[in-house]
């Protein structure tokens, strides 16, 4: 390579580069202008072309930097952008032609979305460098051929100037592209370069022309008109025709005469009702002077008025028109000026209303009024009489009103009293609630205190309880022994008292729940006796169990043991014979068992029988008996009640023994209930079926 052609080439390249840059700026400007148009008109087609043109700027900048383009593909992003630049413009033209030929709607959203997709898609494809050169170039050629064909189709279909411009633009692009590709295989020469640049310049000029056609060519106005306005106009024309027809119908069907005359008083439009009023036909009236329908005085009147109504003031007059047969018709006439778009007066609109009928009606009305006036006079007399009686009525009314006021006052007082009462009531309720809470709290504290005290007393009682009998046993002095016996009895009494108090406190506490078990009492009674053996060991006690087998009851084992403990110890305590006989019985009654505990003891006197269940109650004769705390039977009763039963006592009198009765819920009742339920279920199912 020698340096001379290189130098020449260099200089030429400088000029060429300059032209490429100019072209690039031209396109950039066009893109910005289209974007601006989009903002003004909101036409997506413009936005599409703005986007489509933009990448071409890259192409030309690249060509300006490295001209001629390299034969081998460069792996730079700049080169990719250069290659990509040619695609969007082909896409834009393809979509706009395709839309025009096949779609043809005003809404361009769908083609634009497709365009954006392919725009970005091709961008990423080229940047990622995944398309072989051959496919890229052949697809560009294929695309060019397709848009060429499409523009020819458009020319044939629409026969419009802008279609020709599309065709020319596409041709120029094709020439530019072919001449540019010559560099790939041939040496550059100045003719070729000029051809390329000139073709590109022409191509973009044609495109620009499509968007801004000179008004003289008057193929409407640019691409906006080409692609949307035309449709719009057709539609508007149809709408216009439609609305015109509608208005005509409305005007024709009006029950008012409508008449238009121009500046020369020549009638240009008459609706059928106006014609009917004046007994002409519409055709007869149109073309005639408006003044022909008026008499002389009317003519003068209207002419005079016309001078004033030339401003757009609306006026209404009463005026007589002449019918075809020269009879008169009284109307109200309403005149207003008509203007064209430029504000020039073009005529007068006259609205006529036939009021001759109205006039007649008015006369009739007047007659009737007269008659009314006459009758009014007569009425006046009656009124006077009435007024007198009204005076009397007013007095009475006044009285009533006063009474009413007093009543109202009383009512107000009453309601305020009622309010006070409500407030008082509320306070009372609140207080009751507070008190109840207090009482509950105190009761709880009492229970807690009793049980704490009980526990604290029990432990120190233990050694006393154990040791005192031993000490008493060891004591030789009978006097001391007797004293020790008294001490021990008191300790025992204290112990019993503590235990029973605790038990009762526990039974009274709402927190104590029963743990119920179903058990056969006839068998369980032996277990109880087994456990209570210390009570009667060494004493002559005979038990008789007459409870029938299968007496299944629901009981709390521990509490039932306590119950029997109390009853048995009671029976032993209040025995009169050497031999104590205690018998147990049970009878089924409805849903529960009545259990009887019968002894052969001293019995209870009739006047005491109602008190035996009272707390700390002791029959007189045993008041000083240290063995009795007076709590045992209260405990028994509480236990039975906790089980949901009842307890009572019967005695035939002193020395005739005592029978305690208490009820316990039977187990069988429950199962029976279940069966009944099951039956009712079945019945209800059957009825449903």
């Amino acid at each position: 390579m020698n340096s001379k052609p290189n130098l020449e080439g260099r200089r030429r390249v400088d000029i060429t580069s300059f032209f490429w840059y100019v072209l690039s700026i031209f396109i950039l400007g066009m893109s910005v202008w289209l974007f601006h148009l989009f903002f003004k008109e909101r036409d997506l087609r413009k936005l599409m072309f703005s986007f489509g043109l933009l990448p071409s700027a890259f192409t030309f900048v690249y060509l300006g930097v490295t001209f001629p383009p390299p034969i081998q593909a460069e792996p730079t992003m700049f080169f990719s952008l250069f290659k990509w630049g040619t695609i969007p413009i082909i896409e834009s033209i393809f979509f706009i032609l395709g839309d025009r030929i096949f779609y043809g709607k005003r809404d361009f959203k769908v083609p634009f979305a497709m365009f954006l997709f392919f725009y970005l898609f091709s961008f990423f494809l080229l940047l990622s460098n995944t398309i072989p050169e051959i496919i890229f170039y052949s697809s560009i050629q294929f695309g060019t051929i397709v848009i060429l064909v499409l523009s020819i189709v458009l020319i044939i279909k629409e026969k419009m100037f802008s279609a020709w411009l599309f065709f020319l633009s596409v041709c120029c692009f094709t020439i530019a592209g072919i001449s540019l590709s010559f560099y790939m295989w041939q040496d550059e020469n100045i003719t070729n370069t000029l051809l390329t640049m000139f073709s590109f310049f022409l191509a973009y000029t044609f495109l620009a022309l499509i968007f801004k056609l000179p008004a003289s060519i008057k193929q409407n106005d640019g691409i906006g008109a080409y692609f949307s306005l035309e449709e719009k106009i057709k539609k508007i024309e149809a709408e216009l025709y439609d609305s015109e027809r509608k208005y005509r119908q409305v005007v024709e069907s009006l029950k008012e005469g409508i008449l238009v005359f121009d500046n020369k008083s020549c009638t240009t439009y008459v609706n059928s009702y106006a014609a009917q009023m004046l007994e002409y036909t519409t055709n007869e009236m149109t073309g005639k002077s408006f003044f022909e329908f008026l008499d002389d005085s009317g003519k003068n009147f209207v002419q005079e008025k016309l001078e004033y109504i030339f401003d757009n003031v609306e006026n209404e007059y009463k005026i007589e028109f002449l019918r075809k047969n020269k009879t008169k018709i009284l109307t109200t006439m309403h005149m207003s000026t008509l203007f064209d778009n430029d504000g020039k007066k073009i005529g007068i609109l006259v609205v006529l209303q036939d009021i001759s009928y109205r006039k007649q009606m008015e006369a009739a009305l007047e007659e009737k009024l007269k008659k009314l006036q006459q009758s009014e006079l007569a009425t006046l007399n009656i009124m006077e009489d009435l007024q007198n009686s009204i005076g009397a009525l007013t007095l009475a009314e006044k009285e009533i009103r006063e009474k009413n006021e007093t009543l109202q006052k009383i009512n107000i007082e009453l309601s305020s009293a009622r309010e006070e009462l409500t407030i008082l009531n509320e306070n009372l309720e609140k207080k009751v609630k507070e008190r109840t809470a207090d009482v509950e709290k105190i009761l709880k504290q009492k229970d807690e205190f009793v049980s704490q005290l009980g526990h604290d007393l029990k432990t120190p009682l233990t050694p006393l309880n154990v040791l005192l009998p031993i000490i008493k046993e060891r004591e030789q002095d009978p006097k001391q022994k007797e004293l020790l016996g008294t001490v021990y009895d008191n300790v025992l009494y204290m112990k019993n008292l503590v235990m029973k108090t605790l038990t009762l406190a526990q039974l009274n506490s709402p927190n104590t729940a029963l743990s119920l078990q179903e058990i056969d009492l006839s068998v369980h009674i032996y277990n109880i006796l087994d456990m209570e053996r210390p009570l009667f060991q060494g004493k002559n006690v005979i038990f008789e169990n007459n409870i029938p087998s299968d007496t299944v009851v629901q009981i709390d084992l521990i509490q039932i043991r306590e119950l029997f403990d109390n009853l048995i110890s009671n029976a032993i305590k209040y025995s009169q014979d050497a031999e104590v006989k205690i018998s147990f019985e049970a009878k089924q009654m409805n849903d529960c068992y009545v259990v009887l505990v019968k002894d052969n003891g001293i019995g209870i006197e009739a006047n005491q029988i109602q008190h035996v269940f009272d707390e700390f109650y002791k029959a007189d004769y045993s008041r000083h008996d240290l063995q009795s705390t007076g709590l045992g039977l209260s405990i028994c009763k509480r236990i039975v009640e906790k089980h949901g039963g009842r307890m009572w006592v019967e005695s035939e009198g002193k020395g005739k023994g005592t029978t305690f009765f208490f009820t316990l819920k039977s187990h069988k009742r429950l199962s029976g209930e279940k069966n009944i339920n099951a039956n009712t279920n079945e019945v209800s199912i059957n009825t449903v079926l």
Partner: protein, 131 residues
């Protein structure tokens, strides 16, 4: 035959009184005392195995329940019968005492009553003869 009874109670008066009371009432009872659960377990660990344990429930530090649990979970001790001594009257104590242990007795008790219960446990036989 001498029977060893271990009394576990935090009140030494209770232990002493039981010592006197039980030894006095029956010949052949040897009474040991432990003032808390740890001492009781210590005795057992020293291989002093009583024939019956009288166990208080409410003790400081280690409750009767814990001691009971430890004894019953030890295979060499779990055959020892236990009677609970309790000042508690609530259901839990009664239930647990009666069903977990061999018996329970509520403080304060009669020495005769306690002795009977101990005998019952020893004899392990039904006492119902009286009808």
């Amino acid at each position: 035959m001498t029977r060893t009874i271990l009394v576990v109670d935090d009140n030494p008066d209770v232990i002493n009184s039981l010592k006197i009371g039980l030894e006095d009432a029956t010949q052949g009872y040897r009474i040991l005392g432990a003032e808390n659960g740890q001492k009781c377990l210590k005795l057992l660990q020293d291989n002093i195995i009583p024939d019956i344990i009288l166990l208080d429930i409410m003790m400081p530090q280690m409750s009767g329940w814990e001691v009971f649990d430890k004894i019953k979970n030890n295979p060499s001790w779990n055959k020892i019968p236990i009677i609970f001594l309790t000042a508690r009257t609530d259901r839990t104590a009664k239930n647990a005492g009666g069903f977990l242990g061999d018996d329970y007795i509520e403080k304060p008790f009669e020495i005769v009553d306690l002795k009977n219960r101990i005998e019952i446990v020893f004899n392990k036989k039904s006492i119902i003869k009286t009808r």
